[in-house]
């Protein structure tokens, strides 16, 4: 089913999302990948404040290529989500509601998705040029020294993604393998 949704996410809308749904996301999302997650995780362990408010927000696991002049961003497709599995449950428990990436997640992440009424989306891996067209604005808001791995605030319009793990814990990747 195709759906238009807004970010930050709304709890009641998350409940309606089902594995296999094709969604178009409009609103504000944040990027963070390996190095930014490690830094945020260490900040939390030290009791420091995070550079972004996680409440109801979506993190896109993505590190773009540099933008050419006059463009908001370069190529901007998803990276493999499982590398963030170590950090994701804690972020979900702190209010994160959505993650966009590609590839499998751990059981711990799936459990954290279910207990927090959250959702894991996949964007099409290797379609960074196409996906960049849905990103209208990009601003580095933290960890600038990390280059492509800095935390960015993105304004997206009709950003295409597929619901892989829904709030009930259904997992599209597992469903397609069982159906054969």
């Amino acid at each position: 089913m195709e759906k238009n949704i807004t970010a930050p996410l709304i709890g009641s809308e998350i409940k309606e999302l089902k594995s296999g749904d094709y969604v178009y996301i409009t609103g504000t999302i944040y990027t963070a990948r390996d190095a930014a997650h490690k830094r945020m995780y260490e900040a939390l362990e030290k009791g420091e404040k995070l550079p972004i408010d996680l409440e109801n927000n979506v993190i896109y696991y993505m590190g773009p290529s540099p933008a050419r002049e006059g463009r908001p961003i370069g190529s901007a497709g998803p990276t493999t989500a499982s590398r963030m599995d170590k950090y994701a449950p804690k972020m979900l428990d702190l209010g994160l509601k959505g993650m966009i990436g590609k590839g499998k997640r751990s059981e711990e992440v799936k459990s954290a998705i279910v207990r927090n009424n959250a959702v894991y989306f996949a964007a099409v891996g290797g379609a960074g040029a196409l996906l960049s067209k849905s990103i209208k604005k990009s601003e580095v808001i933290a960890y600038d020294d990390l280059g492509t791995e800095a935390v960015r605030k993105l304004e997206v319009e009709n950003f295409p993604a597929i619901v892989v793990i829904d709030s009930k814990g259904n997992n599209l990747y597992e469903m397609v393998l069982q159906s054969c």
Partner: protein, 280 residues
């Protein structure tokens, strides 16, 4: 003896880095077109259509096909009658990578130390494989390799008794484990034989072979065809979201090996299997 100024190498490598990251080879594009036709899953077809559109945007707007513009892998065949002048060859290759990645707006994805992890900010150093051949030509293949798929690659040190069935199981295991992580439809490079590192290099080299050309060894060709069929029956599908196109091709290279061993290297590549070759 033919003299080649290393500046020529730098200039060519620079251009090849930019070309490889924006324009996919014709054989790969043809695979994608065929997959769009044959795909049985509706969602799978939608993913494949997105990939075709992505290639069009990449070449028309000069946006890299994938944001992971890879680590620069260079295969360089040097004729033994060539004499390089004007500097050090390896430095010239890395200078080409540096200029290509900076001037071409490509992502810098290399860290200086595997554990300290500071970005080198120019995507150097490259991974360079040298080969000395007859003649006075230099052939360079530049293959940017992304790590979503690289991370799913494997080496199996099989026993001779495992035989061809063992090889098939190894490849299918690697592909199943890779699943959606490796951005299917994948291209599977396989190196059989040699030793621990040789099978891995063969597997990487296999990825640079035209995907519409099979091995000229009859049993290897049959193995390529059979494995591709079996992989596409796994129903992983485009993006791992289900479907009949899980891989575009299985390219296998072989090499003599030891009486006690059967090494198998499996280098997995995503649908953006990038490589450009030039002869100097």
């Amino acid at each position: 003896m033919r003299e080649i100024d290393v500046k020529t190498v730098t200039e060519n490598i620079k251009e090849m880095c930019i070309e490889a990251n924006h324009f996919l080879s014709d054989d790969m594009k043809e695979c994608l077109t065929n997959a769009v036709e044959s795909e049985k899953s509706e969602l799978g077809k939608k993913v494949l259509n997105s990939l075709e559109e992505n290639l069009k945007i990449a070449r028309e707007d000069m946006i890299p096909i994938c944001q992971d513009t890879g680590m620069a892998v260079i295969f360089i065949k040097i004729g033994q009658d060539v004499h390089f002048t004007g500097g050090n060859l390896e430095e010239a290759i890395n200078e080409g990578v540096r200029r290509g990645y900076i001037d071409g707006f490509l992502r810098k994805s290399v860290v200086n130390d595997p554990l300290i992890r500071e970005n080198t900010k120019d995507n150097t150093p490259a991974i360079i494989h040298y080969e000395i051949v007859n003649g006075d030509k230099v052939t360079i293949t530049m293959a940017p390799k992304g790590f979503g798929s690289e991370n799913m690659s494997r080496i199996f040190m099989l026993k001779p008794a495992d035989g061809i069935e063992g090889v098939k199981n190894a490849v299918l295991t690697a592909v199943k484990d890779a699943g959606p992580n490796a951005c299917p439809p994948m291209v599977i490079g396989v190196g059989i034989g040699g030793d621990f590192e040789k099978c891995a290099i063969l597997a990487k080299k296999a990825l640079t072979r035209n995907v519409s050309v099979h091995s000229d060894i009859p049993y290897v060709k049959e193995l390529e065809i059979e494995l591709l069929k079996k992989i596409n029956q796994l129903s992983i599908g485009p993006g791992g979201l289900g479907g009949t196109n899980t891989a575009f091709a299985v390219n296998i290279e072989t090499y003599p090996t030891h009486i006690a061993g059967l090494p198998v290297g499996i280098n997995i590549c995503c649908h953006v299997n990038r490589h450009v070759t030039r002869e100097l």
